[in-house]
């Protein structure tokens, strides 16, 4: 078996007002099911290694985590190496439930934007209120970045983690770097 290759091979650009880095590969499982059923959330918590997040939130710890995607969908995160085992375990636990769990680790690209101006870079592309008082670490948004669908959260106050489809990784990388271009500081969230 070959070594897994991400869409951009871990590309990184730190020339602008924020650093943009491709992460991964990362393990990701889409789980669809009735989130009010205990067996479903219990299996999710076991796979993600964190507690269940509230609506529009995510809980992460190391490579593990769970993000709330919709009233009947969760995104479970783990090490890429463990995804097949985790998926099999999850499917086993949910064999008796009406639920769908699939591996989407390779269907995605993951980016980190970091630095003191991360919020401004995001606010140029995603229609989200990025004010530090409005969007805090732990919140999770499914939204768009310019012309592509994406989801993201703040890992800490200066770092955002963004998930998009693998096929548009190059587009999002280039677009994030354009939004972070030198001389484009807005000074909206912190007075310049």
């Amino acid at each position: 078996m070959s070594k897994p290759v991400t869409a951009l091979g871990g590309a990184s650009d730190a020339t602008g007002i924020a650093t943009v880095t491709e992460m991964g590969p990362m393990g990701m499982i889409t789980l669809r099911g009735d989130l009010s059923v205990k067996a479903v959330t219990k299996a999710a918590v076991a796979a993600g290694g964190v507690t269940m997040p509230d609506q529009r939130m995510c809980n992460t710890e190391g490579a593990g985590g769970i993000a709330w995607m919709s009233p009947d969908e969760l995104l479970i995160m783990c090490d890429y190496e463990h995804v097949h085992a985790k998926l099999a375990d999850l499917q086993g636990k949910l064999a008796k439930e009406h639920a769908l769990a699939v591996n989407v680790s390779d269907a995605r690209a993951v980016f980190r934007v970091s630095g003191p101006h991360t919020r401004e870079v995001i606010a140029k592309l995603a229609p989200v209120d990025m004010h530090p008082g409005s969007f805090t670490p732990g919140m999770f948004r499914r939204t768009r970045f310019a012309q592509v669908a994406a989801a993201f959260w703040m890992v800490d106050d200066q770092t955002a983690q963004i998930i998009c489809f693998r096929s548009v990784a190059q587009y999002l990388f280039n677009t994030l770097n354009m939004a972070a271009q030198d001389g484009s500081l807005v000074g909206h969230f912190s007075k310049a």
Binding site: P4, H98, A107, A123, L125, D182, H188, K191
Partner: protein, 1005 residues
Amino acid sequence: MSTRLANKGRLVDTSKPLSFTFNGKNLRGYAGDTLASALLANDQMLMGRSFKYHRPRGVVASGAEEPNALVNLGREGRFEPNQRVTTTSLFDGLEATSQNHWPSLEFDVGAVNARLSKFLPAGFYYKTFMYPRAFWKHVYEPVIRHSAGLGKAPKARDVDTYEHFYAFCDVLVVGGGVAGLQAALTAGRSGARVILLEQTDHWGGRAPVDGGQINGGTVDAYIAETLDALRSMDNVELRLRTMGAGVYDHGYALGYEQLSDHAPGTPGPRHRLWRIRAAQIITATGAIERPLSFAGNDIPGVMLASAVRDYVVNYGVSVGDRTVVVTNNDNAYLTAIALKHAGLDVPVILDARVLPEDLGLVAQAKALGIRVMMGHAIASVKGGKRVTGVTVCAQAGEGAVLEEIPCDAVAMSGGWSPVVHLWSHCGGKLRWDTAHACFSPDADNPPKGADGMGFVTAAGAASGMFALDDVLNDAHVAAEGVVTCLDMKLPKDVAAPKAERREESPLAPVWMMPQGAPAKLREKAWLDYQNDVKVSDVRLAAQEGFVSVEHAKRYTTLGMATDQGKLSNINGLATLAGALDAEIPAVGTTTFRPPYHPISLASIAGEAKNDIFQPIRRTPMHDWHEANGAEFEPVGQWRRPYAFKRGMESTHDAVMREVKNTREKLGLLDASTLGKLIVKGPDAGKFLDMMYTNMMSTLKVGKCRYGLMCSENGFLIDDGVVARIDEDTWLCHTTTGGAESIHAHMEEWLQTEWWDWKVYVANVTEQYAQVAVVGPNARKALEKLGGMDVSKEALGFMEWVDGTLGGFPVRVYRISFSGELSYEIAVDASHGQAFWDALMAVGADLGAMPYGTECLHILRAEKGFIMIGDETDGTVIPQDLGLNWAISKKKEDYLGKRAQERSHMTDPSRWKLVGLETTDRSTLPDGAYAVAEGTNENGQRNMIGRVTSTYHSPTLDRGVAMGLVLNGPDRMGEVLTFPGTDGKEYQAKIVNPVFYDPDGEKQNV
């Protein structure tokens, strides 16, 4: 002449001289100048030519309302036409050229139109160029287009970048004059998140020019204090050079920030479009002075009184040595007084009013020794490219000249109109303010949000408050109201500042000067400077029956130029009202639409240009394709290899080689783009039976079935191979372009119609790289990779199996879209390139070559396989394509079933799919129609069929085609005629669409 005064202006920094050019002439200005003030300082009064008559035109205003002084700015990658000199900040090296003239600004051939103006009234073009009809397109329009038009379209690529910015706030304040500053201060003190936008590069608006005292100090001191207070608040954002461009539903507003127009080449974006969501919006957008309608009011040197004052006070520029002031209100007296204080001559103030006593500014002007003629007016302005004097008459009369006064500038004021644009964009209503003769926001009818409550409040002059004390108080009250709406509280000690009040006499509305002006004067009295609309044109429109203001606007083009009638609208509709003997409010205004002032198209596009103009989807093997001669074609947002060219080979030759090689040896296709949807649940079988025309619930685990999908109207929308994964799970392949739309289609039915069915769908398209391994050597290649049994016995045609190939965990589908022995192999995308490399390595001895989409098309067309989008176009049902075998007769229902039973769908005369074989082996032109005898009711030849797919088949060495033909399947062997667009007629015989291996022996080995 116009020149720089010794007493420098308050905005210019004379320690920083700048040089610039106008029509190639080197000129000098200072930091803080606008291009307008710098041109005037260099005695360049003539700045352009009007649109229709090519009249010489100078600057009229000092702000965004300027209609005349538009120039071409910059060069090459930074060239931009129609830039207002009044809103263009001067910078070192600025290059401007004037527009709409030939051969030069001073001598313009097009000005002959002005001599012909009697023959070019409103509606002239509509009336004159009606007949003969064909002449419009080929003769009239090209000539008119050549002679009209302002700036030139840029030819070079824009070298700058642009961006958007999403901002959210409680209160958006538009306008950084004293009203906006005060509103922001009051709102900011409540703790609300406030954004304050100012269009120009300085705070305070025109209040410092007009003077007065606030809280016992100067206006400038008040502005400085307020700014200090605002800057100390973390909840307030202040933004200069950012215009509030538009107000939309749900508190959405656009701000247009010009970051480097005043410093081209600065790193970073040139413009930033602020996309703001505000809970409440305060429009403190000020007011615009109105011109007066008198003969010759467009001659360079006739300007708004406020603009003359601005140039003197802000920029230290005098427009002329002798300025006649003409007015119907007190405000213009400020100009006379400012000119006098600057040491300039004001020979007379012509005041259309007759006042009982001299109050305030009138008394002040008289005390300065300025001659004031009450009840007098301008009969006409003398001069051509520059004012040389005015003739004076009684306002009440018909223009009998009483006196001629030499002068080189005229400062006019017809009163002030609040800038109600942003208030009106989203439905705010207006009321007629009789005292000030203007439309003001009707506070009882604001633009309303989803909750039925107003979300816009006008403040200061924009709400019809003109005295400084009223402006400040109104702004404070507006902000208080907004804070209350937001359920926030102000600290107790906050109060509006107090300003000193001036005694003032009321304005007298004047819409024509003199009041009884005869036709001779009316046709020289301009309303819309840019589009050359005069008082006489609006009267003509009324006379010809254009009584609605919207109709009159379009007939005369009043207010339709790039300034959108900021100066002309109120005067125009007052003139229309006069001609109709109607009240002004009964005539109403035209519609105010965003943007308030032109914004760049590039700012709307934002970051979307060059490599990120739109997302291009790339498969895991995209880079390999690029490095190996792929010529790409767009398929949805994907780029798929059309063919892989080798060396100097032509694209056609590459395609022919790929087809032959795949049929004879081994072809590899990157099929990763095909949609892959997982459908799972106890009701999944039932659900898929509804989605597909075929029966999917009976498919056995481990088997594959080709399926068709129709819309509710019965038309084919997608096709693909469905695999049964386990008891509850199916995997549905879709077309490349259909992955997202079919996923949405499934979700829509599950969420809206069959919400109680237990089915989940997931789109896993991009999880897998998928490679089609096609050709006689396909099995050998997989066996060389090793790891699983791919023999006919272990993996039959239309079966799938999970296993390992060359160490890669794979899912292998034995399906064929080519008619050859074929496997489609799915591998996790992160291993896609490695798997492709492994296949190329083992295939080297087996003649492996990659192939592209054109080869794929030829392979399938030789086999008579349909392609969604070629054989279908949204009007084709499966029965048209002879796909009845794929329509289950056992099922009670499926999407499209009932539609396909409608009479039109079962009509035997629907065109049906057949193969087409040219009699001379040539290739039919794509999309060609088959013709029959006679003509239809439109005089066109009768048509009985059309080509849907056509290719040269290297396998058969002839053209092969498919088409839809009337009664086609019953006419086998008939020869049809297809006229081409190349003048030739093609003859083709109707045949079975399966040209190659009709018994399917090759794919089933």
